[in-house]
């Protein structure tokens, strides 16, 4: 008698456990959505943000290997917002994309537009036309493929600063 009633109750308890597990997953038992498979946002927050850039007519000016310009200021501000120390690398775009793939860079920012051919090898942010010196171009930034929490954090910052 007792055993049979316990048996009947079992499916309900399974349901409750499943519901708890689901709500726990959604409400975040240490889990945020979206998350980074390789943990980029976690690694750079309060640490070092490695950024790559190439010289660009109005956006990036390089003197003695030190980049400056509106986009550099913008990314430095983003680094600030997540308490990260920016570390800039200046190289050609292909070299930068390879470094991004190899995990030697976290972000590429410069005169890259929404028509970028690097779609297959890098995660591409939404385009922003409101950056000083963009001159009507829709500027995008590149992140490591699939690092969605990092990308979302960057896009949220850019929406605040230069979003239309």
């Amino acid at each position: 008698m007792d055993t049979s009633s316990r048996f009947r109750r079992q499916p309900r308890s399974v349901g409750i456990v499943a519901a708890l597990a689901l709500s726990c997953t959604l409400a975040g038992c240490g889990l945020t959505i979206p998350a980074d498979p390789d943990g980029t946002l976690d690694a750079v927050t309060g640490g070092e943000l490695r950024i790559g850039t190439s010289p660009d007519r109005d956006l990036v000016d390089v003197r003695d290997g030190v980049p400056s310009g509106s986009i550099v200021e913008l990314v430095d501000d983003y680094a600030d917002s997540i308490h990260a120390e920016p570390d800039w690398t200046v190289a050609s775009e292909e070299t930068l994309v390879t470094m991004l793939e190899d995990g030697e860079l976290d972000l590429i920012a410069g005169g890259i537009t929404a028509e970028t051919p690097w779609l297959e090898r890098a995660g591409v942010s939404r385009g922003y036309t409101g950056i000083d010196g963009a001159d009507g171009r829709e500027i995008v930034m590149l992140v490591p493929l699939g690092e969605n929490a990092f990308l979302s954090s960057l896009e949220a910052f850019l929406d605040e600063e230069v979003g239309s």
Partner: protein, 325 residues
């Protein structure tokens, strides 16, 4: 088109006329609904392979409806000297086209998704700005997929599967069957996107492979059903599950004729209607033309699907003919 009940050689009975009008309405509704779905998913498809696969599946799901409506124009025509059996095969041709398209695209998508999975491609899904808020695009994907599933699973899928047996239409049946199974695609794509959200990048590719396998399976099933019909397989029920009971009914009717001692039929499905060759062994090897004509009319009156019937008096029944036993 739907104001006349003309259907090849015959006029459809009122029940089938009503069913065909409703089928046309549902097919048109499906095309409109699916077109809207395709347009809405296009806005959120992003870089998710699962979403892309589900999106292409939606486009493919238009083919059976277009095939049905196109075939319907042809199957209604009367037989002519050029097309002495009428144009009923148009339904089978449409079915075959739909099957092969599903199979080809399904294989392509499965290959693409598996290659992405093996190469370890991490799907990148960013954010969108909606009413001034930056939100993750994945949430929109999940919402869109959960909303668009309502049509096929709750409305047009069940409606069409009720009409298919009335019309004995295999294309309509296959179409309804695929619509009802659409929830699997939706669940898979939602799991894929949520997986990406949780940082489990491979769930997206795995969901895409699962969806493509479903498309391949639909393709194989439909191609097979269409091919065996076009190859003049013995007529089967609308779901291809068993031999059509009408063959046995016709044989029983024939054996009941006073002039007949034994009978058998060869019955093939021309798409929605049957072409029947009935072999009858007459008693004392005698039968009059009047008896033959009367019997042919009697067989035709048995069911609206009996479109073409030829009565052949024979000395002995052919081995391959169906004796209904």
């Amino acid at each position: 088109m739907s104001h006349t009940g003309q259907f090849g050689r015959i006029t459809l009975p009122p029940e089938q006329q009503r069913a065909i009008r409703r089928a046309v309405k549902w097919e048109v509704f499906t095309i409109v609904y699916t077109s809207i779905t395709i347009a809405v998913i296009a806005l959120v498809v992003g870089n998710s392979q699962a979403m892309r696969t589900a999106w292409i599946e939606d486009m493919l799901s238009l083919i059976p409806q277009i095939a049905f409506l196109t075939a319907l124009i042809f199957v209604r025509r009367r037989p002519t000297l050029e097309h002495p059996y009428g144009l009923h095969r148009a339904m089978g041709v449409g079915h075959l086209v739909a099957g092969v398209a599903l199979l080809a695209v399904g294989l392509n998508l499965a290959f693409e998704s598996a290659a992405g999975l093996i190469a370890g491609e991490h799907p990148t899904i960013g954010t969108v700005v909606l009413w001034g808020h930056t939100i993750w695009l994945g949430w929109l994907m999940v919402i869109v997929m959960a909303v668009v599933i309502i049509g096929p699973v709750f409305f047009y899928g069940p409606a069409k599967s009720k009409l298919a047996p009335v019309l004995h239409n295999k294309l309509l049946y296959a179409d309804a069957d695929m619509a009802k199974a659409d929830w699997q695609t939706t669940v898979a794509s939602i799991i894929g996107v949520l997986g990406v959200g949780a940082g489990v990048w491979w769930l997206d590719g795995a969901a895409a492979v699962f969806i493509s396998l479903g498309i391949i399976w639909d393709g194989v099933r439909n191609t097979k059903a269409a091919v065996v019909d076009l190859m003049d397989e013995r007529a089967r029920t609308y779901d291809s599950k068993s031999a059509h009971p009408l063959a046995a009914d016709i044989v029983a009717y024939l054996c009941d004729r006073p002039w007949a001692s034994d009978a058998a039929v060869r019955m093939r499905d021309q798409g929605q209607v049957f072409h029947i060759e009935a072999f009858v062994v007459p008693r004392r090897r005698k039968v009059t033309v009047h008896e033959l004509t009367e019997t042919a009319e009697g067989v035709t009156a048995l069911d609206w699907k009996v479109q073409d019937v030829v009565i052949v008096p024979v000395e002995r029944l052919p081995d391959e003919a169906d004796t209904g036993r």
